[in-house]
Symmetry: C2
Subunit: 139 residues, 2 copies
DNA sequence: CTAGGTGCAAACATTTTGCATGGTT
DNA sequence: AACCATGCAAAATGTTTGCACCTAG
C-alpha cells in the first residue's frame, strides 16, 4: 500500500490518479533533497526505471503547484525549483559555497513582514525570503 | 556634460568607457522604472535611437553586476531584472495585480536576519526578500 | 467508452558564445 | 598600435505546446 497515500493526495487535489503523477509525488515525498528542479525529477525517475517524459514532468509539476501540492521557487535564476508543500510556510537559507538549502521559520520575521506590508499600504498575500551565507565550521 | 557622471562611475568600476556602456548606465540612472530586464533596456535604447545589440546589453549588464553597479533580481522566474545599486540595500514589495515594484528597508528585519543566520551556523553574505501583496485603496 | 493524460518532437523564450570588425586608451 | 568591446548570428538552456496514442474511471 505504498502508493495509497499518494493516490489519496492526488484525489483530494482533484487530479486523476495516473502512473506518472503517483511516481512524481512519491519521489517528492521520499527524496532526501526536498528541493528539485524538473530536470532533477526527470533524471531521478529515469534512474528508478520509471519511464516518464520530461514534458510530462513539467506538466505534472505545474499541476501540482496549481493544486497546492508543491511550491515553486526561483532561487538563483537558472531553473525553477519545486518542493512539497507541507502547509507550514518557511523560508530558506542557501550556502553560497555548496548550494545546499536549509529551511527555517521565524515568527519575528513573519510578524514584522505583516506590519511592513500594512505600513506600505498593501495586503500581504505571500513573501519570499532567501538568505545567502557561508556555513561555518561546527564546533 | 551629461555623460560625465556615468563615465566617472565606469572608470571607477574599472571598465573602459564605451558608448554602449555609457548609454546603458545613463538609461538606468534616468529611467522612471528602476527595474528593467535586458529586453527592456534593449528596447529603450532602440527607442532612443541608440544602436546597441541585444548581446551587448546582456554582456554589459553582467559586467555591471560584477562591478557592483547594478543588482540582479529574479522576481517571478521568467526574466532577470536589473536595477542600479545605490549602495543602500533594500527589499521589494510587488503588487500581484499590477506588477508594480516598491522598495523598502527595515532595520528590524535586517537585524533579525543576521541573528537567524548566526543561529543556523551561517555567516550571512546576502539576502533576498520580496513581499507580494495587493495595494489597498488609499484613504 | 470517453475525457483527459502521456510521449515525442518541434516550437518558444531567454541568455550565452564564436568570430570578424570596430573603437578606446 | 594593442587590446578589448561590439554586433551579428548561431548555439545553448530551460520550458511549453501540438498531435497522435494510451489509460483511468
Amino acid at each position: 500500500m505504498d502508493k495509497n497515500s499518494s493516490s489519496l493526495d492526488l484525489k483530494k487535489a482533484g487530479l486523476k490518479v495516473t502512473l506518472p503523477r503517483v511516481k512524481i509525488l512519491e519521489l517528492l515525498e521520499n527524496s532526501k533533497d526536498r528541493h528539485m528542479s524538473a530536470e532533477d525529477v526527470y533524471r531521478a525517475l529515469l534512474d528508478a526505471d520509471a519511464d516518464v517524459g520530461l514534458a510530462t514532468v513539467y506538466r505534472v509539476l505545474t499541476q501540482f503547484e496549481a493544486a497546492g501540492l508543491v511550491t515553486r521557487h526561483d532561487f538563483d535564476g537558472g531553473k525553477k525549483i519545486y518542493e512539497l508543500d507541507t502547509g507550514e510556510s518557511h523560508d530558506h537559507i542557501v550556502c553560497v559555497k555548496t548550494g545546499e538549502v536549509a529551511e527555517f521559520r521565524d515568527e519575528i520575521i513573519e510578524k514584522r513582514l505583516l506590519e511592513i506590508a500594512e505600513e506600505l499600504g498593501y495586503e500581504l498575500t505571500d513573501h519570499k525570503l532567501v538568505l545567502y551565507g557561508v556555513a561555518k565550521a561546527k564546533s
